[in-house]
Amino acid sequence: MTALLTVDGLSRRFGGVQAVKDLSFSVGEGEVVGLIGPNGAGKTTAFALISGFLAPDAGAVRFRGRDLRGLKPHQVNALGLARTFQIMRPFSRLSVVRNVMIATLGRHPAPAEAERRARAILDELGLGARAQTPAGSLTLAERKRLELARALGTEPVLLLLDEVMSGLNAAETERMVELVRAINRRGVAILLIEHVMRAVMSLAQRIVVLNYGERIAEGRPEAVAADRRVIEAYLGDEEVTSAPA
């Protein structure tokens, strides 16, 4: 499989905290890769480094054979790499369809065409009926889907999803998993930060595990779930080495 995204030796420090340390991995075309790890492991920082929102202290990101060094977020996006935000950032006072149009206008400058495409995406994600609603009055689950709809509107070949399932109930999570799967089936590669393990396990073909900014494991979901270092990272090593009294 050709690598679509290659992350090579990426590092970033915030003051005394090494948020990401010598991180390397790749995402192949059409692949779904999970990026997991305990809170504070550096997953969201890694996203920010890849998508151009943060500059790395060291290391490189290559996407479709291009070095992303020095590119601004909108330029990275134009190359076909879209991200969502863990803390959703809807344009609250704009309508839902306008929110998605901000994304579709990039490749379709005529507003009528951009709106047509935005509505098609909203229909696909089950937000069609909410098109005229101000984005600020959507429910949490709807806002998660809007975040996804906007990222899709930029017509990416790689989608970075930052916890699009957190806070959703079981039925909503199931629906989101199906949506992500459908997007992937159309050939969009996906890099997924997720705490909802059942979702990652069922979606990802490969999982990269971060702890304290470093990659501690990588492999197929079952292999990673059985990995001793991964269990230690999540539960703390005491529970693993000695059963609690």
């Binding site: 134009a78 879209a82 935000f85 344009f91 929110n99 901000i102 507003p111 930029t154």
Partner: protein, 315 residues
Amino acid sequence: MKALAAAGAVAVLLALPLVLSGYAITIFILIFFYAYLAQAWNILGGYAGQLSAGHAAFVGIGGYTSALLFERGVTPWFGMFVGAALAAGLGAVIGYLGFRFGLRGFYFVLLTVAFAEICRILASNVEAVGGAIGLYITFTGDPRHFQFRDPRAYYYIALALMLLATGVAALLERRRLGIYLTAIREDETACEALGVDTFKYKMLAMVVSSFLTGLAGTFYAFQNFSLQPGAVFGIPLSVEILIRPIIGGAGTLLGPVLGSFILTPLAEVSRQYFGQGGLHGAHLVVYGVLLVAVVLFLPQGAYPFLRRLFQRGAA
């Protein structure tokens, strides 16, 4: 329906000078003039959400340029565009500094105020542009010199300016640029993530806004026949420019116009009334009270409020 209402309103405004007194015409000229400035400010401050408290600088540069060119025999009909281009140039410099270095909110406001103050101090101290006394324009009464004996000419020019700026804003609302600006106002980081070059579009908003504002400088100069640094570059004019769209409804098409129709007559009448009683500057108290009332009760401005009322009435 909307087009009909707009055509009706324009027809009434076109016919008004037939029945208005000289004083009322003067008031209407001011209403249109400030509505034009408010509309130009609205493109940057309203739609794009980049608050400028230094727009007087663009009026001053536009006015000084055409006045100085007129002294050298260049017609203001041409000079107004030179002045507007220079104003847009200054706008580009302010925009570049502010947007490249990520100045937002109060910091951007302070940057715009600082540039306007620098212009005022420069104009006050450089004798070649009149120094503290400013510039006086020789009266010829010749329309080719942007001078008219009949105040109705100024009325129609001011009306045309207001309609022009409103037309530009209406066009923007329908185009990609205007749609992007409303999103930039809401969340620049999200815009970047969606592929929007926020720097470029903020710069465009700044250049269009400062160009239009610069055009108004020539109108001001050749209606008043004088330019004083404190009057055209000063903070009071910047406040006059930004308070109307904020009270009328920033980021809406008709908010700036409505704001001027509310505030301009009120300011003129209270200036006259309090001025005769020796209370100069009392109209600022009226501004203050109105601003507090709008912020408290109509934070989106008067126009969105009226539109809701109208829609409720129609439903």
